[in-house]
Symmetry: C2
Amino acid sequence: MDDELLMVRVAELSYDENKTQDEIGALLGISRWKVGRLLVQARERGIVRIEIVHPRARRLGLERELVQRYGLQDAVVVPAPEEPDAVLERVARAAADLLAALRPVPRTLAVSWGRTLTAIAEALPDGWARGVTVVQANGGVSLNRRAGGAASVAATIAQRGGGHAVLLPSPAILERVETKRAIESDRTVSAILEQAAGANTFLFTAGPADEGSAHVENGYLTTDDIAELVRRGAVGDLLGRYIDADGNIVDPQLDERTVGVDLEQLRAAPRSIFVTAGAAKHDIARTVVNSGLCSILVTDEPTARDLLEEK
Amino acid sequence: MDDELLMVRVAELSYDENKTQDEIGALLGISRWKVGRLLVQARERGIVRIEIVHPRARRLGLERELVQRYGLQDAVVVPAPEEPDAVLERVARAAADLLAALRPVPRTLAVSWGRTLTAIAEALPDGWARGVTVVQANGGVSLNRRAGGAASVAATIAQRGGGHAVLLPSPAILERVETKRAIESDRTVSAILEQAAGANTFLFTAGPADEGSAHVENGYLTTDDIAELVRRGAVGDLLGRYIDADGNIVDPQLDERTVGVDLEQLRAAPRSIFVTAGAAKHDIARTVVNSGLCSILVTDEPTARDLLEEK
DNA sequence: CGTTCCTCTGCTCATCTGAGCAGAACCCTG
DNA sequence: CAGGGTTCTGCTCAGATGAGCAGAGGAACG
């Protein structure tokens, strides 16, 4: 009986039959030390596959690699579920878990908005924080508190954290620079932006530069605008600001018309949590981590693997 | 953090990160005993799935159940491979492994023939026995030693076992009883049949009662004959003899025209190894083990599970 | 054929782990 | 809120396991 077959037999007796290495040795006529060594080899060769099957499982190995490679404070990687639709939900739950476990508990949290943020808000347990102030970090859709809107994200997170939301009463992108300047000069708005910029924790996502963007959906940009941005190298946006693969603003004029915390302020935050799920966002995700725009990354396994590939 | 989530974290640290229960306890702020208990629960709840991935893996649990339920000497169950076509090959290899490991080494081995037997013969290593005599247990196709024929099976097994084959020079089923009697009265033939009947080890398969049968293919039976046999309750044949679900001969007249060891002789053998693979043979397999026609069973996991279902 | 180098084996010993148990904590129920 | 039962917790202790090591065996080479 060759060694590989022996590994299989040993693994079966050990894992399926719960026998001790001693018993297995006696059974197969080998020493118990050899049994131990065969078991190690069986694991190394992948004959024994140990899998943790659970929606909240994580990939600690990938997390460690990401932290090291990109100099992050922390990373959370969840395995991709069987059904591709469920990945956002899983990542969102992981982000919610992370948020709830943050120490020190955040007192002021600046947030972006979008489908991912909505999912995170929904996944947060009541009492995840004690009296947190949630500030919108960039302008956004619908100022009412209807589910899914930018305001509702902040409101839900705040409510579940026993605190209150500070909403930014402004569109994401304005048509004219003058209007943007005017809005920003409003004392309320500028106070909110300052408060957001000073938040010790940011929680944000990014979107790929494509026609499905929420900015198109909400009429801030046209598909032509997006096409032009892509032509100029845009890979996606965060907090409404479109950047290229190197993390630079693609269109400074457009950027001037965008309301919200700017990227330098984000980069300076002591803790910024970037949450991303799905293959469409691999490029923008790479840019975000490469440019040091986040200190904590929450994502799915395929994204993590993509980020760890040399490119 | 609820207990289930804790199980997931503990399992990850234990299996993915190879941490000791002590370390995990320290990390998560729980006692090492709790860690141990959580691991046990995680396994019980199926959060941790341990799988042995190897073409030669076996299902010892199912084997034990089969041995107990059907009073067998031994059973070998291999997991079904991803590609359904490979199951025959795996089962055949398992049968070959079993054969090579038999103690005492068989001196006279009576064999049937068919695709499964051919595969077993091919899977046997050179030197699997020392000077074994391989006798054909039932009449069969092609008396030359062309690959795949009944003779070639016996010849290959014998050759690899350093012995010689004793071929039964007769068709499987004859058209007239008289011819069969005549053949059997030939001294050579009767001596071979006696030698086969006296073999201390039998190695055989069975076929389902359907139009794909080798008997139809070789012209011993017509599809109409098969249909009639099925109508009378036949589930399949072994050694050319068609039996019903209770293990009784379906058509005594047909049986009288069949050349080979009879079922009582098979049942009386000290060791009879029945090898079967594939869903088509579930019924005949059930009959064989139910009727005590084999003492050792080699099969695939789906067949084993089918056999263990109450019916 | 001897020497060297490498691998493999079975050992000791320290550490890790699971079984079993006693006390603590919890939860019904009256 | 007391009593009785159940579950949970952390302990002891024995048994199981892995790290590291010394010697055996075996191949490669001069």
